[in-house]
Amino acid sequence: MDEDTPLLDELEKGPWPSYVKEIKRMAKKNKAAKDLLGIQELSYKDRVTHWKHGGIVGVTGYGSGVIGRYCDVPEKFPDAAAFHTMRVNHPAGWFYSTKSLRQLCDIWEQYGSGMTNMHGSTGDAILLGTTTDNLQPCFDSLTEAGFDLGGSGSALRTIAGCVGQARCEWSNFDTLKLVYDLTMEFQDEIHRPRWPYKFKIKASGCPNDCVAAIARADFTIIGTWRDTLRIDQNAVRNYVDNGFDIKTLVVDRCPSEALEWDEKNKELKLQADDCVRCMHCINKMTKAIRPGVEGGATILIGGKAPIIKGAYLSWVLVPFMKIEPPYDEIKDLLRKIWDWWDENGRTRERLAELIERIGLKNFLKEMGIPPVPQMVYKPRANPYVYF
């Protein structure tokens, strides 16, 4: 190697797979990757980033999908002077055929640095590092191969969902179908920014929330059931007979004290009314307890990271909704929300912040959604009521 990277070399050691090895692997055959290595080593030395504030570049007809990036020492690293990323919308559930993955690799071999993130934390396949000139031809090849760009900027972002019914017994609706359907429906919103700020949608099939939707999505769809969870008492007895401490590990951990272990009759009793569908007993006794059969989802809104007013977890908006094609109820709700947000939101004001500013009450009124106690942990304590 003609690059000298003593600091990064340290990160080739140790048992966990090394990203440095990966860059070096590409650096052997790709100049941009080689300069990336150099820039990274320089940052490790200087302890500051060497990337400049984002550029604004893209492909024809889209306002999003590309993150422009320039190096602040282009003299030293001309081959990574421009180092834009392309966000490629992943197939729902992150399933790939090797055929399509190999196609992606080939395209990126031709037009980019050969480095990728599989995946970015919104969910896109991130193609990391290309030049402005390569953007359009790369994009053209991508669409040729059946891929499209995801969202960026003040647009709808790439929608993600958990693996769901594809490989999980608990999914209360078909997350992949929903994610795909919404993604196709809202192509325009994904590719052409138009709102005060970004908007994210994520869907998990059950309250375990394996895509962390509640923390990261403005519109959060989390599967749940409307009826009662199903208990197979024989299977329960099997657990107990095999030494599973059902009292300590399940009954006592039920957050709503809905379970009781009847030692005498060897029966797990459920006060169905009290179950808040937290999943715990199901999670821990996979063979004995299952969600109910009347599947659907709770819709929550407003999850986001700290900028500007602080982080928010999503709030319950619709306690239960059936999630079935053609998903009109969800689509209508989304459009209503966007319209209201777009009309009232300030620049860079996300949905939760706008609602906090204008009041949940007013938002509900605009949405035509009646207030229910399920929306709050508790009613107001202050007496400052608008009548």
């Binding site: 590409m26 055929s97 993130n117 995946h119 669409t143 019914q165 594809a166 929330d209 982080a311 860079r348």
Partner: protein, 354 residues
């Protein structure tokens, strides 16, 4: 001009047969061993998943290597998880060991299932972001090297989710992780007046500041802004909208550690992670101080929590005061919230431990 708005490939074309046939029919699953899941279908089918770790930032050759394994054992399909692990799925039990071995040859460990430490959700850092106050990939590598045994085993009381974000934009959704490492600045932005004129919208810049620290430059001849440094808490939000206000600084930048967040609704509702170490300097390449603190927390947690108790649930049970005592992390005034909803964190009871 090519086609536009075609959307991503249809997921149905991406599913292996074993999945297609049992789609929506799954009955239960078992954790066979660390890194191996067995899902059983109502049809009686059994499907095995081998999960292996990934550095996330990978080369195309890495992906091609994965494809080779998938072609050999998995019907030409594979998937990635929401934590950037790789999953090889097969309905042939005897493939499992082969997959594990071939992955091991590539240096990829099987694990991350059950009560383990799975892969770290992370972000761009010095690899690609102008906003970064630390590197992400390097931190992740350094941490996972140390946590390796927890990835490849399932011996913790519950799983521990780690996230790294290289700045407080928190692209890594650090705000709800069992353990979170976030890059922080500690110097206010340096305003370049000329650049402000050419590159920034002044009203947007002023509005961007959560604490109202930014004002127009009082000199009417200078079309720019000034920062009231006593009000600035280095969030870099101004820098996001105005490139003329960089904050990065080798001495000022470093990381903070947050703990006890969770996302799932299991048992306790989702919770935010909370600050336990306000600042540690950046010490690339191995961030030893950071790694040591994390390791210590995990070990104390492992020794003290009840089975199935997540980090945050454990801390809520024993109390933060006891957490600080056990971990011997000093409590400072920076731990005390002073942002918008701060008062909700102040203790309004005589109940506490020593």
């Amino acid at each position: 001009m090519g086609r536009t708005d075609i959307g991503p490939p249809d997921y149905r074309e991406m599913l292996p047969d074993a999945i297609k046939m049992n789609y929506g029919k799954w009955k239960y699953h078992e954790n066979v061993r660390a890194g191996v899941l067995k899902h059983v279908s109502e049809t009686g089918d059994e499907v095995y998943t081998v999960r292996v770790g990934s550095p996330r930032l990978v080369s195309i050759d890495f992906i091609r290597d994965l494809c080779d394994i998938a072609d050999k054992y998995c019907d030409g399909h594979l998937r990635f998880t929401s934590r950037s692990n790789i999953e090889f799925i097969t309905d042939n039990k005897s493939n499992v060991n082969g997959i594990i071995e071939e992955a091991a040859k590539l240096g990829l460990p099987a694990g991350g299932t059950g009560n383990s430490i799975s892969n770290i959700i992370h972000t761009q850092g010095w690899i690609h972001c102008h906003s970064a106050a630390t590197d992400a990939s390097g931190l992740v590598k350094a941490i996972m090297d140390e946590m390796y045994e927890y990835f490849t085993s399932m011996k913790l009381p519950a799983f521990v989710r780690i996230a790294v974000a290289c700045c407080i934009n928190m692209c890594g959704a650090v705000h709800c992780s069992d353990l979170a490492i976030v890059g922080v600045h500690r110097k206010p932005p340096k305003v370049d007046n000329e650049k402000v004129l050419a590159q920034c919208e002044i009203p947007t810049t002023i509005q961007s500041c959560p604490t109202g620290a930014i004002r127009r430059n009082p000199d009417p001849n200078i079309k720019s802004v000034v920062v009231r440094e006593d009000l600035c808490m280095y969030c870099a939000n101004c820098f996001t909208v105005c490139p003329a206000m960089p904050l990065a600084d080798a001495e000022g930048d470093g990381v903070a550690i947050y703990v006890g967040g969770k996302v799932s609704n299991a048992r306790k509702p989702p919770m935010f992670s909370r600050m336990v170490v306000p600042f540690l300097p950046n010490t690339p390449p191995r961030w030893t101080e950071v790694v040591d603190v994390l390791k210590k927390i995990v070990e104390i947690y492992a020794g003290s929590a009840k089975k199935y108790e997540r980090m945050g649930e454990w801390i809520e049970r024993i109390g933060w005061e006891k957490f600080f005592r056990l971990t011997e992390i000093p409590f400072t005034d920076q731990h005390i919230d002073d942002f918008t909803h701060a008062v909700e964190t102040y203790r309004t009871t005589t109940q506490f431990k020593w």
